[in-house]
Each structure stands twice: as C-alpha cells, then as structure tokens.
Symmetry: D2
C-alpha cells in the first residue's frame, strides 16, 4: 500500500494569536487530526475504538519543532508516517509542509492500554501500520 494521503488544512483565524502566528499548541491538534485520518484510512477509526471500548491508544509523549512562523491563510500539508512500531506502542512523525517547505514537525507516541494497563496492539492494526510504512519492515 502507498503512504497515507497527506492531511491538508488552511490556517484559520482561530489557529492564530495576537502575535500574528499560529499558537503553538494548535499544531498538536492538527497533528492529531492527521492521526485520526490515518487511523480511518487503515480501518481503525478512533471513534469506533472509543465507542467499542477496545484498547485505547493514549499518548504518552508528544513533541514538536517549530521551524518557521505559520500564518493565517497558509495552506499546510501534514505528512504523517509510522516512525516506530512495537508490540504495545507505535510512534507517528508528521511533517508540516507549506509550498513544499517543512515549517514544523511533530512526533507522538501511542501505547495500547485498557484500564488495567498496557496491552498488545490489536494484531490487525499492527499489520496495517506495518503495511503503510514498509521501511519499518
């Protein structure tokens, strides 16, 4: 399978702040939108996981680098990929591109867990994540 389609968005007024640029925390929101899109694409939409009380995939770590100011009206492509995959967790890395230039990047680590603690990722999900990131294989 090919890489997942990029998630695209236009920076809205509410993404920005009085300093005239995107407020940094909103980048994590957009990275999560890209993650939701990727999960739907591999057949594990988050809303179903949550409603069916399947293992959740809570974030245990998130980080971002802000390379260029991002401004109101900018058109951004978010390219998300699985950058690490193990039995009980996976990591996504997203590059934020504007006109082909990387303006930010974001990494989030997700652990499969029930209320009693960490568990193995659903096997189908692990296969699908592997599938879209052949370089991990």
């Amino acid at each position: 399978m090919n890489s997942p389609a990029p998630h695209t968005f236009t920076v809205q007024l509410h993404d920005t702040d009085a300093a005239g640029v995107m407020f940094f925390a909103h980048l994590f929101r957009h990275a999560h939108d890209a993650y939701e899109g990727l999960m739907a694409e591999v057949g594990y939409p988050l809303d179903e996981l949550i409603r069916n009380d399947e293992p959740r995939l809570p974030l245990v770590h998130a980080e971002a680098d802000f390379l260029r100011p991002i401004r109101h009206g900018d058109r951004i492509e978010v390219h998300a990929r699985v950058s690490d995959l193990a039995e009980r967790h996976f990591t996504l890395t997203s590059d934020f591109l504007r006109d082909g230039e990387r303006v930010a990047s974001c990494t989030t680590k997700h652990v499969a867990a029930t209320e009693n603690g960490a568990v193995a990722l659903p096997s189908g999900l692990a296969e699908r994540l592997q599938d879209i990131c052949p370089r991990l294989g």
Copy 2:
C-alpha cells in the same frame, strides 16, 4: 444565600487571534467555565453529574453580544446568574466586566435530559438555583 462569586480570568494569548482581540467563540468557553463554577458552588459539580450518569444538562441554545473588543491581558469578571428556571430547563445569563464596564454578555439554556429525552431537573438542583437567584422566586 448570596449571589455566586464571579468567575475571573486573565485573557491569555491563546484566547486572542491575529486580529488582536479575543476570538469570539472563546467567550462561550469562558461562560461555560463560569457555569461549571456555579454548579460546583450549588453542590452539583458537572464532572460528578457526568460520571454518575445522572440527567445531563445539555445546551439547546447559546447566544452572546460582543460590546467591546477584549484584548490580551485584560482582567475579566464573569457574573453569572440564573435568568430563567422551569421544571425541565434553566437559563444562565453572564455579564463579562472589565474594570466594571460590561464588555460582553452570554446566555445559555440548559435542558435536563436522559438518553430518552427531557426530564425534570433534580429537585435539589432546582431549589439551589432558586436559592441563589431570589429575584426568580
């Protein structure tokens, strides 16, 4: 009982947008914070209502008037009061004051409901709301 204490906040950077003022939708968020404070004060904290699966109090209507630009660093007092109370619903009206001047106001209507539809407000809650708004009596 006296009126509920005002909810106060300082306008944070993330409340503002590239036009230099508070993004309007955030006013509703702050009005909801005042509502949460009022509910805790009358002994019905929202988090307990939600966790205990008691009747929820979903909003069916919300509106706001924006009278003056609200800016980063402004210190705002939110004065919330019960402006209408009936068997199955109540309405809150909040005035947003800066240095004693009203800069915005917000009204939200809440209906008691289970998954099967509207129900009566918990009797204790109705009494407490009446209690803090004697002019309704």
Copy 3:
C-alpha cells in the same frame, strides 16, 4: 452565481468532551470556518483583510441552536448563507446537516469597523454577498 459550496468536516476527538458529544462552543468555531470559506470564495479572504488593515468585520452577536447531539466521527455539512445585508453590517446563517438532517444552526452578525467605529462595507464585498444570496435582492 450559485450558493457557496458547503463547508464539510468530520467531528474530531478534540471537538468532543467527556459527556461524549461535541462541546457546544466548538460549533461556533466551525461556523467561523464556514464563514472564512465563504469570504475566500467571494474574493475577500479574511487573512488579507486583516493583514491589509482594511475595515475589520468583528462579530457583534452570535447565537446557535443545538437540535441533536453531535458525536465523534460524524460527517457534517455546513451550509452558510447571507441572511441579512445592510450598509454597515451583514448576518450569516449556517445550517449544520448530518445525513441531510439539520442538527444545529448558527447565526453571526458582522459589522464593518475601523478603530474609529462602524463604516460602510467595502462596496465590492456588499455586491458579492448580494450576488451569492439573490433572495436578499
């Protein structure tokens, strides 16, 4: 000209709250996204208005009716139209549809203003808004 294209979005996890439905204030954010889309479509993208220090179009009133719970994963179409147009202000009304059913509606009133107070809408903008809403004519 035809009506503006609807603004569509999927309800993301961050749109929802612990009560399991969309947090009401986010509806206003989505209505504003539809407004930004409409302004771009008529040739007056908000980011340019703000950057060029043209008259701003601040909201003086906003209101919404919440008709049905909106849930994580719901696919929503926002149909925005100009419902009132005068020399110095205009009003937008947006219907939120899920599978063709109206689940919410939102109205926002915008006034043309400089730092010195209300002014006439840019004439080109007034014409374009009239153009996309022939029933106002």
Copy 4:
C-alpha cells in the same frame, strides 16, 4: 526571590474529550498559561511585549510526557521553572501535580527574535529569570 507561585486550574469539561480524559494538546495550553503567569511575575507580561513590538519569544520546541490520565474536575498545580538559560534563549519545564503526584510534565524552548532573526534576551529579563532559578547560576 522565591520560586514562582504555581499556576493552578481545575480541569474543565472543554479540556476533556470523548475518551473521558484531558485531550493531550490542551496540556500545552495550560503550560503556556503557567508561562504567561511566570512572565507577568518577573515583570515582562507577554501582552506588553507583543504590543510594544519588543523582541518576541517564539517557541522553537515543545514536548510533554503524559504519566497519568487527567480527568474532568481534577485540581492541577503547574510548577514552572527555568531549566535552561542562554544569551538568546531559555527553556521552561513545568510539572503538573495532582494531590502532590506528578501526572504530566512539559518543556518549552523560547528564542528571542525580531523579524530579522534571533537576538539577545532583554538583559533585564535574563536577570529576572536567573533570579527565580538560582540553581542555574
């Protein structure tokens, strides 16, 4: 001078999501609120820096560890400290405590910059940051 006072907040409904816990990106918002409080405390409120077109302090990196689920109604103390200080940048580290237990931590790196690039921190600010974090000296 003593350490800055902790920034405290109660987790509001809008902080949470349909999975029943705080949506991770909001932690960064709260960390920024603590940063704004710290800047006001040392005499450099962000709103004045932005309005006076002084060097801005944009974030170039942010990261967080999420150690325990944070829930609606939780009372959180954010203890922010300067964990690194150099001529042109500084780093804040914030611990999020609930009943004395650390439930999350967040680190943000800020660079002094004008539109032309990185510059030295205002000397007064550097002194004040040093002052509240004697272990850096």
